[in-house]
Amino acid sequence: MLMNSFQLEIVTPTKISDEGQVDYVRCPGLDGSFGIMSNHREAIFALDVGEIKVTQNGKDHYLATSGGFAEVTKEKVELLLETYERADEIDAARAEEALKRAQERKTAKEIDTARNDISLLRAINRLNVSER
């Protein structure tokens, strides 16, 4: 069955990228993943650190994001993301390094744990997505 497609745009602090017509988007919501298909009700979703899956012409693409929000309107879906990387653009070695650093800091005391946990989460997420 052919799915109805809809317009997807990704807006970040450094660029606006028009992704064109897509069939399906899966986003990391604050309390679990959710999917958007065409004719979705108008909505605003907060997004967490995680993986975004975009289905376009029957093909799946994966993005790693550090979060933001999604705005669904009748005309299009906009993802406002603080940062994102496509799976094939992720520098796995660098992510690995960041992960190692964060883990080392975790064992060392008197650090800002909340801040470190976020870096840890981001590094793990980037590694996971890069393996897609």
């Binding site: 009700r41 108008e42 550090s66």
Partner: protein, 284 residues
Amino acid sequence: MANLKDIRDRIKSVTSIQKVTKAMKMVAAAKMRRAQEHMEEARPYANRLSTVINHLLPDVDRDMLELLDVREVNRVGYVVVTSDRGMAGSFNTNVLKTAQNEIDTIGKENVDVFCIGKKARDHFKRRGYTIIENHTEFWNELSYSHAIKIGEGVISHFTNHHVDEIHVVYNEFVNVARQYIQSEILLPLTFEEENGQYLGRLYEPNREEIVRSLIPRHLNIQMWKYLLESYASEQAARMLAMENATENAQDMIKELTLEFNKARQAAITTEMLEIVSGAEALQN
């Protein structure tokens, strides 16, 4: 009068200095344009973010949002944005002077400083201020991740109650010839509340959670703005300073050339006098 060789050497060295200042001016111009482009690119994201926050804020219990928490001010954090390199006229001097004045009014012992750029670090370190974080030598590969990194440090310093307010002192880019020193209160954040338009939509997980997760992001984009404004200002100031230096070099070359010609003519005159008087001596 200086001899001919000395003057020629000086002309040569001033000419090569002029080449350098001219090149620096061109580089600064290109970098400034890039910073301005970044500012343009950041605008849609920043606007959307603050629109959503402004619309949702009235429905949210403000006491739950720690970054909007207005407390009695005992300790203040100062973020001072400077450059790593000089040769930019009064760019760094002005911002450091303003920041130091404000900090000294509050009392140096009640202020924590976040230094952005080498110039701020050197300045405040030498004078024994309490420095919490230094961020240096990133300007050449300035990216949004730096804004996030600086933002995180500032946010956690505020939410951990180390300070009750965060001020930012930076150069605001007005135009190529003009940069204003700005001093703003970054935290606690303030928003203009609006209502309407977004009614009848679905909010996931709920309005409060959305606002809570977006506010730190709003702060990061603010930080990005400060960095870009400062970077563009730095390059504009350097452009102007180098333009002046190039002009000065031109004047100097002109003066030296004049001096050189005078010296050359004087030398010729002396030589001729010698020949003539020599010839006369022979005739006698």
